[in-house]
């Protein structure tokens, strides 16, 4: 049988979560929701970096991914429009 350690459980869970949130991020028609899902993915990515023993990168991803990327995306959505689609 498989011998599985807690660390590997963590990795599996995180992988599944990340793929799920990435799919959510491109699936939503509402761009704001899509950005939220992207923020979740970035958060989990940072956690992934963290448990792969890369705290430097985790901090950078935290600063950039959690705050700045979302910020500029939302500013852009505010400057343009919120829904993806043909209406206009």
């Amino acid at each position: 049988m498989f011998e599985i350690s807690l660390f590997e459980v963590l990795i599996i869970l995180l992988s599944v979560f990340m793929i799920a949130s990435a799919i959510i991020a491109i699936w939503f028609k509402d761009l704001l929701a899509s950005v939220i899902a992207l923020a979740v993915m970035s958060l989990l990515l940072s956690l992934y970096f963290y448990i792969l023993h890369a705290p430097d990168v985790a901090i950078a991803e935290a600063g950039v991914g959690a705050c700045l990327t979302t910020a500029i995306l939302i500013i852009t959505i505010k400057a343009t429009k919120r829904m993806e689609g043909d209406e206009e």
Partner: protein, 161 residues
């Protein structure tokens, strides 16, 4: 909350107070990350990103106009150019004082020389790495803040039209 205040882009008093409390905290933490880049996780980019996030926090809590009056994007870009200049100048110093471009010409000696009575200390190690950390930190704080500030200003300008 009045309509005018909403148009200024301010959030509620509660958010503002907490932002005012978190701003120095984030700023000092960003300086900590930059200064201790060669000892603990972090460094110029990470600290710079945190510092820029502190500015973004102010932008979101107090509105772009309010922040722009205090710190213009031109100031940020000057700050950024200065950081870049320091980096390149230190790199060229490596060429003149030591052997090659970007050489660590201060390795195994403290940055500001040995001051009597200070003893060995980790903060003062690493040769030119702390200097480069500070340069990159300046650059990233200036740069990323300027990006968000410009984009926010542009977005606001578009709404006013």
């Amino acid at each position: 909350m009045k309509n005018e205040e909403m148009n200024e882009g301010k959030m509620t008093v509660i958010v503002q107070t907490i932002a005012a409390l978190l701003f120095p905290l984030a700023l000092i933490f960003s300086f900590y990350v930059i200064m201790h880049g060669h000892l603990t996780p972090g460094g110029g980019f990470q600290g710079g990103a945190i510092g820029a996030s502190a500015v973004v926090l102010l932008i979101v809590a107090y509105g772009v106009k309010h922040v722009e009056e205090k710190m213009s994007e031109g100031g940020f870009s000057v700050f950024e150019s200065l950081g870049g200049l320091i980096f390149v100048v230190v790199a060229i110093f490596g060429l003149f004082l030591a052997t090659s471009f970007l050489a660590n010409f201060l390795v195994n000696e403290p940055i500001f020389g040995k001051i009597p009575g200070w003893g060995e200390s980790p903060l003062n190690s690493g040769g030119i790495l702390p200097i480069l950390n500070i340069a990159v930190g300046m650059k990233v704080i200036g740069g990323l803040s300027a990006v968000v500030l410009i984009l926010a200003l542009i977005s606001r300008e578009g709404e006013e039209k």
